[in-house]
């Protein structure tokens, strides 16, 4: 409106957002990964592949550890004490150790990947 005192003009007053919103599926275009170029995809794929390999390796060990047990127990129907001992007490520690092994491997993979991307 012409002639109006600029000091009286209506303005919207807002504060800064209280919490920065988590970026969902959106990154600033700084690296190849964020620009989703072919090179960026290749990086992500390689990370996924190493992580999947780590997971499958531990899963295979779990399968080899647990898979034959029902057959063993079926083959030895009188070994009740063995079954009680193995299922009741002996399996939990190996499960935790497998988990620790996987977490160390997965975190190392991620550290290596970060180093690779930063040094580029």
């Amino acid at each position: 409106m012409p002639g109006q005192d600029p000091a009286e003009r209506r303005v919207t007053v807002t504060g800064p957002p209280r919490r920065v919103r988590r970026a969902t599926g959106y990154y600033r275009p700084r690296t190849e990964i964020d620009e989703q170029t072919t090179l960026g995809h290749t990086y992500v794929r390689s990370l996924m592949r190493t992580q999947l390999r780590a997971a499958l390796a531990v899963f295979a060990v779990l399968g080899l550890l647990v898979g034959p047990l029902p057959l063993v127990f079926a083959a030895m129907p009188d070994a009740h004490r063995l079954e009680w001992a193995v299922l009741g007490f002996c399996l939990y520690a190996p499960l935790v150790l497998l988990a620790l092994w996987y977490v160390r491997r997965a975190e190392r993979n991620e550290r290596d990947f970060v180093r690779l991307v930063e040094d580029r």
Binding site: Y27, V58, L62, H80, E83, L95, V103
Partner: protein
């Protein structure tokens, strides 16, 4: 046994739950606090909370009862419950947290950009959650009935009211404290009596016949049969009968029962001599967590064991109350470390139920006969120690059992209410969340009143099998496979999860009786999980045009470490 101690213990647990919840309420300020505790729960608190939530009535009472009745094969249950977390850690934990979604339907929508898949996943979450809530309410009723003779519905009602009040009032932040507190309560409630019971066992000369098959009576024992039942015995058995067996009235007569099935009418008193084998009761669909799919196990033990292993190993990752917890971790690395801590905590807990199962086989073998095997954990302190000490230990166990019902029921209610609020009720917001909470609890409470006698272990097993054949393929393929399409995911969930659901529902309804088909339907995981995966892969490959456009960016978000993302932002 003196029930006033037990009532006091249960009341104390309920009051402590409400107080700890109220403490959380005071610091629960924002909507984000409400739903995901503002994603700031560190690994140690979160791990205790996850474990507290996970150790349900089936773990606290059910395993010892199952072992008592069916022997060491049933120890596969706790092993599977624990190993399920390892599989979850391997394939799901960190990417799921990084996906930034809050519930399984959120995950489905974020990954596949499809409202239909979201709604389908929501329906499965609500279904599995309700199925899992039902046994918690029934277990609470059983506990209170065994301890105090209260009507069956009272325990379930108390649990429902307390859970709705805590969840609706404080949301996730307050629940996190409640759950963490209840893990330690449950561990104490099993550990302390276990120590005393083991000492009592040693003082008794360490009888070792717990590991023999079948279990035997170690002294003359009188058993009163409350409900009519069919008794199956392998070899002839001599008992003293006061009542009606096979339709003939006996008055304190010694009877030699031939091998086979015998019908015992209610009110009959059987006196077993020392050293005689404990016969197995065959009561079809009676109530109790331990009378599960027993018959089919005997037909195909190896198939049933592998079905159980597959369902529990792969089903854990899809349980709605388990998954929601991962969004409360601050980042993916913390989510992984939390999972390792959870494995340690629940592994430590599961060392205890087998102790109760073994002692139960020595000191309370007749519980399997009267169908109260789930009460073994509750009754052992009184039976073995007795006096005021036994009463106090029994009260501690009862309090722990109630903590188990409360914590698992809170977590499930939280998850189901989250889905109902976001996908079913019209607008979002904390007020609607409270309405969702009431709705989430009302349906299973009504169902527990209506169906009453549903075998608890079957409901839990069904929840695991359905979750393993619907959510496991969705999560694993969604996180690791770029060619997954919305039609593929929907088809896989419907055919795998729906197939498992129909199979176990048919078994529970008594179809098809016996034979290989029955075993196949009673333990569906072995075929329904591969079926779910296969359908998802094949339909996805057949609809290559429907791969969502943002797939590459979303998978990058699932797998890239946060430090890289933070750096990019700065």
């Amino acid at each position: 046994m003196n029930s006033s101690y037990a009532i006091t213990a249960v009341a104390l647990v309920v009051i402590a739950t409400v107080l700890v919840g109220a403490f959380g309420l005071r610091i629960s300020r924002t909507t984000s606090d409400f739903y995901v505790a503002s994603r700031t729960v560190g690994p140690r608190l979160n791990a205790a909370a996850i474990s507290g939530e996970y150790l349900s009535a089936a773990s606290f009472l059910g395993i010892a009862g199952l072992v008592l009745v069916q022997g060491p094969d049933m120890l596969w249950y706790p092993v599977g419950y624990t190993a399920g977390y390892l599989v979850l850690l391997l394939f799901v934990a960190a990417p799921l947290r990084r996906s930034g979604a809050y519930t399984l339907p959120d995950f489905a929508e974020a990954r596949l950009a499809s409202q239909n898949v979201r709604r389908l996943a929501g329906a499965f979450v609500v279904g599995v959650g309700w199925l899992y809530l039902l046994p918690q309410l029934q277990g609470a009723g059983l506990t209170l009935a065994v301890l105090t003779g209260a009507p069956d519905l009272l325990g379930g009602g108390i649990v429902a009211v307390v859970v709705v009040a805590t969840v609706a009032a404080g949301g996730m932040r307050s629940i996190t404290f409640v759950q963490a507190f209840q893990y330690w309560l449950k561990l104490t409630a099993l550990l302390v009596p276990a120590i005393f019971l083991t000492l009592a066992w040693q003082g008794d000369g360490s009888p070792r016949h717990a590991f023999e098959e079948p279990a035997t009576f170690r002294e003359q024992r009188v058993v009163t049969v409350d409900d009519s039942l069919d008794l199956t015995i392998d070899r002839p058995l001599t008992v003293t009968v006061d009542g009606r067996v096979d339709g003939r009235a006996r008055d304190d007569q010694r009877v030699r029962l031939a091998a086979g099935t015998h019908h015992i009418e209610h009110g009959t008193r059987l006196t077993f001599a020392k050293g005689s084998a404990v016969p197995a009761a065959d009561r079809g669909s009676s109530n109790g967590m331990s009378t599960s799919l027993e018959a089919s196990r005997e037909e195909r033990p190896l198939y049933a064991t592998y079905g159980l292993i597959l369902a529990t190993f792969l089903g854990t990752m899809g349980l709605p109350h388990v998954v929601v917890r991962f969004y409360t971790s601050p980042h993916g690395v913390a989510a992984r470390r939390t999972t390792v801590a959870v494995l340690g905590l629940i592994g430590a807990f599961y060392l205890l139920p087998p102790v109760y199962g073994a002692l139960g086989r020595i000191y309370t073998p007749e519980l399997g006969l009267t169908g109260d095997a789930d009460a073994a954990v509750l009754l052992l302190p009184d039976r073995m120690i007795g006096g005021a000490g036994g009463d106090l230990l029994g009260a501690l166990v009862a309090g722990g059992a109630f903590a188990a019902f409360l914590s698992t029921a809170s977590g499930l209610t939280m998850a189901v209410a989250g889905v109902l609020t976001q996908d079913v009720l019209p607008a979002r917001g904390v007020r609607h969340f409270r309405l969702g909470t009431v709705l989430a609890m009302a349906v299973p409470l009504a169902a527990s009143v209506l169906v009453g006698g549903l075998p608890v272990a079957d409901a839990v097993g069904l929840a695991f099998a359905v979750s393993a054949s619907s959510f496991c393929p969705l999560l694993v393929l969604g996180i690791w496979w770029r060619r997954l399409t919305p039609p593929g995911a929907a088809a896989g969930m419907v055919i795998g999860g729906g197939g498992a659901f129909v199979a176990v529902a048919a078994t529970m309804a008594g179809f098809p009786g016996t034979g290989p088909l029955h075993a196949l339907l009673a333990w569906p995981a072995l075929w329904s999980v591969p079926l779910g995966f296969l359908t998802m892969v094949l339909v996805s490959l057949a609809t290559p045009g429907r791969v969502p456009t943002g797939t590459a960016a979303i998978l990058a978000r699932f797998h890239l470490p946060e430090e890289l993302r933070a750096e990019v932002k700065a």
